[in-house]
């Protein structure tokens, strides 16, 4: 078998695997439609749904928009995490590491405390402060006079995250305990219990556009991950392309978390899993990361809404499983290294 045939076979194998993963995720989405608390906790096939108006309403107006939102949010957070890791050539980077999540949370909290009643105002504020945090991290990293680029970036991200965390804590301190504080706490822990068709459609088109841009530019992610000089030498404009992709990834992330609150680990862990399965080249690992992210968030939310009578904040579930997967990945890598 020639190298070309081997490569073609590998591409075919990866394509089949990606299609299988996508189909499995969609099947799981269909299956999760029958998980819930009504009429009894757990899995239930509602054979009489045509005659049960309440069951019908729960299936199509409660569970379906929630499942759709978790798929959309999971894939977007993963795509952003993947883009960030490639753009900064750092597998530990995700929007949260560069202060974007904390900045968005602060923006939303500020708007809540200021009494903004509209979804658009909170989303706009979350987006603006998320972008501001990203710019601050980037600018600070360039000004730091210590260590290499990656270290400086991580350090500046830690500093910016800390500043926005502190600002968020200050907002919480002055927040009205019976109302605003509860809203902000929701933000901090994340949750999809308020998912509705209206909420889904309020972000759907822009998030899909962000995803389309990232997917269409995935070959540039490969080049940009090689560094500024190399990417410039192969004919792309690294500054412009990096800025466009960063802005697109940040806007997508902040729009998602303006609806769902802060959801950790999805953007960090799924690109690792995808690269482990499909290699570091973006053609397959980026869409695979998005499929894994959608599956990860959907399964976390299905657990969160089914396990107990009260809602378990989704951020808690993703953190628990994300950390466990992270430990497993690192352990496997270590064993591989030994061998």
């Amino acid at each position: 078998m020639t190298a070309s045939e081997g490569y073609t076979r590998q591409i075919k194998r990866r394509r089949r695997a990606l299609v299988a993963m996508t189909v499995a995720t969609l099947l799981f989405a269909l299956l999760s439609l029958f998980f819930g608390r009504y009429p009894k906790p757990g899995f239930f096939l509602p054979f009489g749904w045509r005659s049960d108006a309440l069951m019908r309403s729960i299936l199509f107006n409660v569970r379906l928009p929630r499942i759709a939102l978790s798929l959309l949010a999971g894939s977007m957070l993963s795509a952003s995490g993947y883009a960030f890791q490639m753009l900064f050539s750092n597998p530990l980077v995700e929007p949260g590491f560069l202060g974007v999540s904390q900045g968005s949370a602060f923006g939303a909290a500020l708007m809540i405390v200021l009494g903004a009643g509209s979804t658009a105002a909170v989303q706009a504020s979350a987006t603006v402060f998320g972008l501001l945090a990203l710019v601050a991290s980037y600018v600070l990293a360039r000004r730091f006079r210590f260590g290499g680029w990656l270290l400086r970036l991580v350090l500046s991200g830690i500093a910016v995250s800390a500043i926005f965390s502190s600002a968020l804590a200050t907002v919480k301190l002055v927040a009205e305990p019976t109302k605003d504080l509860q809203d902000i706490t929701f933000w901090m822990m994340g949750g999809l219990w308020n998912a509705s068709w209206r909420q889904l459609f309020s972000i759907l088109w822009i998030v899909l556009l962000c995803q389309a841009i990232i997917i269409s530019q995935r070959w540039k992610l490969n080049l940009l991950s090689l560094g500024e000089k190399t990417s410039f030498s192969v004919g792309i404009n690294p500054k412009r392309d990096r800025t466009i992709l960063l802005v697109v990834a940040t806007v997508g992330t902040t729009l998602v978390i303006s609806i769902t609150g802060l959801i950790g680990w999805v953007g960090l862990i799924t690109p690792h899993l995808a690269r482990k399965m499909f290699g570091s080249e973006s053609s397959f690992s980026l869409p695979a990361s998005m499929v894994i992210g959608a599956f990860f968030l959907l399964s976390s939310d299905t657990i969160g809404r089914t396990l107990l009578p009260t809602e378990i904040p989704i951020g808690l579930v993703t953190s628990l499983f994300g950390a466990a997967i992270f430990i497993i990945i690192l352990s496997l890598k270590h064993q591989g290294g030994k061998a």
Partner: protein
Amino acid sequence: MKKRLLIPILLLCTTLLVAQGVRDGAGTRHMQSAIDANGRTLLLDGPVGDLLIAGKAGNMPANALFLFPEVEGMHLTLPKTDQGLGDFFSLIRSELDQQSRLSQTASVEEIAARGADLVLMKATHYESIAKKLDQLGVKNFTMSLETWDEWQAEIVQLGALLSNPDRAAEILSLYRTRLDLIEQRAAQIAGNEQKRVLLLQADRTDNTTSYKIAPDGWMQTWMVETSGAVPVWKGANKAAAGWSTVSFEQIAAWDPDLIVLISYSTPTASYLYGIYNSPLWADLRAVKEGAVVASPHDLMNYIQPVASWILGLQWLAKTTYPDRYADIDMTAEVERFYREFYSISDESIITTLTDAYSRSISDNRR
């Protein structure tokens, strides 16, 4: 010579010591002593002239304090006590309206700088405020007031602290009379006749509404049980220390006979409109039967551990079992409550409160 002088000196010293002892004894007799919610014994050597209430949820100790007539002679410093529906304390004591309120997050130094004779606060502030005030030598007293048992114990202690045990006994007797009536009739309700009730705290976050249930140990759950109904959510929020969000489908799965909506910061009726006009809620049995109701409030919601919880209990019993409590006239009860518990005689204040109560439940369909 020296020996002759020694005898009078000894006699003088003895006399002085005895006199000191008598004076100390007299002081002990006038000292008020009370045990707070954290089990500390507080000694006060005179009446409280200047009292400060510190920390969040300050309206709860303020509620208990205003039941005693001694509050009239006190200089008061209060934190924000308006939950969002208006300030009850400013209504019954107008000078509080002119006063700037202490921040709910005021530091211990700021509290100490006010120089109050006594600082009153919720027991939850023991670590953050009370212990530090102890170190600064500022007298302070904590109250929990989260359950009826705590109300009984702590009203007695507050009465002791204010040297008015008779009023404490009178307050508890007023509660007992009302509570006995509810308990006696609730005891006659057979198990299969008990209504299944769901209390939901409605909370609007960024244009979407979430619904929350109270923990088992909280007064809200006890109130539903005491009214003779079954709290359908009991056991679902056992571990939580606060309200927990529940999904619509969990509410549908419980399928309660009666849903009572609570909001502490906004008029509850606004949530009622949302539910009755929602296509999602339309198929719920309680909605079809008009059995989703707004909880009553005037300037504070009654379904919470403030002094007016007894009104909340009476209303809950009457709303759940209208036939069994047909003789309870709630508007008259609200009026009587404020006259008897807070000694309010100003008719305009009474009218303000009863009107606010009537408005709060005017959209209920039962």
